[in-house]
Symmetry: C7
Subunit: 81 residues, 7 copies
């Protein structure tokens, strides 16, 4: 198990600020980009973001604000697809 048990999920997100993440939405769309910022409602801003549908690249955005209630999960990515 990881050395330090995180105090709460927000700590996890703080630790990966500025890193490459993947954000999966309810409707299956995935956004891969740098986690610029987030808030308590899981609203997130990604930079140099790429939009994937069924793993196919659809769009690129310099900055995108994703509303928290649409988020299914968020995970850190090793490297860009």
């Amino acid at each position: 198990m990881s050395s330090a048990v995180k105090r709460n999920p927000t700590d996890f997100l703080k630790q990966i600020m500025g890193r490459l993440v993947s954000v999966k939405l309810h409707n299956g769309t995935e956004y891969v980009g740098v986690l610029a910022t987030f808030d308590g409602l899981m609203n997130v801003v990604l930079q140099q973001a790429e939009e994937f549908e069924n793993s196919e690249s659809k769009n690129k955005y310099s900055e995108i604000f994703i509303r928290g209630n649409n988020v299914l999960y968020l995970q850190q990515k090793k490297n860009k697809k």
Copy 2:
């Protein structure tokens, strides 16, 4: 990574007030217009807004109030479609 890490997503929205943005709703409809204002619930007002369905222009509005709970994402646009 962008020079200044944003404090929270609202700062991101403040920085693009008055600029051309695209707002995508859950139902797939997209609105491109000038971000006039927004609030904590992501209610947004766009000016000189154009409504697109499947990238096809459907309507134009001088001002439109979009209720926050319908918003999927919001991103800054380089230039009008």
Copy 3:
């Protein structure tokens, strides 16, 4: 861009109180009428309202109370359909 940047979306709604507006609901129904009043949850009351489905007039109401959570967007109308 419009001369005065609105402070928040509610200011936008206050400015168009008493004017002809169109309210679009999630289910596609549109109500065109005079914006009599609204509140923080986007509950709105329209007067001399007309109900449209697929742009076809369905009903007329002297006054109608529309519950906010159903609202997709609201915009000012130039003149009655």
Copy 4:
């Protein structure tokens, strides 16, 4: 436009307490009855209420409590269907 601009939607509902109203739900069902009472969540109690589906009368209730989150709109009726 109506003489007095209502302060907020609740004032509208207070003014039509005890009158014949129609309450339309998300699922299309309509209830026509006397508005006995309501609260901030738009829970409403109708008396001598009649239930309509596709304008066809289905049921009659002496008193019925309708939970607010199901309500699409509410409007004053001139006379019983």
Copy 5:
């Protein structure tokens, strides 16, 4: 119109505590039983309850706790089906 205009919907529910009621859920299921108790979120407990789907009796429960957010409406029943 009923003699005393109810102050709010909760008063209506208090008055029919211990009486036979019908609770209709969003999914169409109906529960007929004695209203034992309820709370502000419309969570209700029915006793000697019978479950109906399309007016067909499906189950009987000595006591059942129904979560409020599923409730469409609640009405007093004259006598058991």
Copy 6:
């Protein structure tokens, strides 16, 4: 009618703590197990729980945490299926 009218639904749940209950979710899945604990949002923990889909046993869990917003109803069971 049951001897003591319950003060509120939570009292009902407290009284059946440690007893065999059935929890029905929105999606039709049913969990039968011992009610270990619950909270104000109807999050419940069941022990020695069995999962049923269309009355067919699917899984067994020593302990399971069920998130409240999925719960349709909860009722006390006489004996294990």
Copy 7:
């Protein structure tokens, strides 16, 4: 029945922090991993997590943040699938 009746569901989750759990989402997807942390909204972070759809392994994540409103249930797993 388990020796100590849990005070509330959060206690249950605290007790299985650092253990192998399975998290089932509304859309049927299951995540098996070590429960690193959680919060009051049931946002959870799993480590060494594996994603299953219809019991078929789809993905592995070193760390994944799952948004609470998607969670159906969470249960402790004996050993990894």
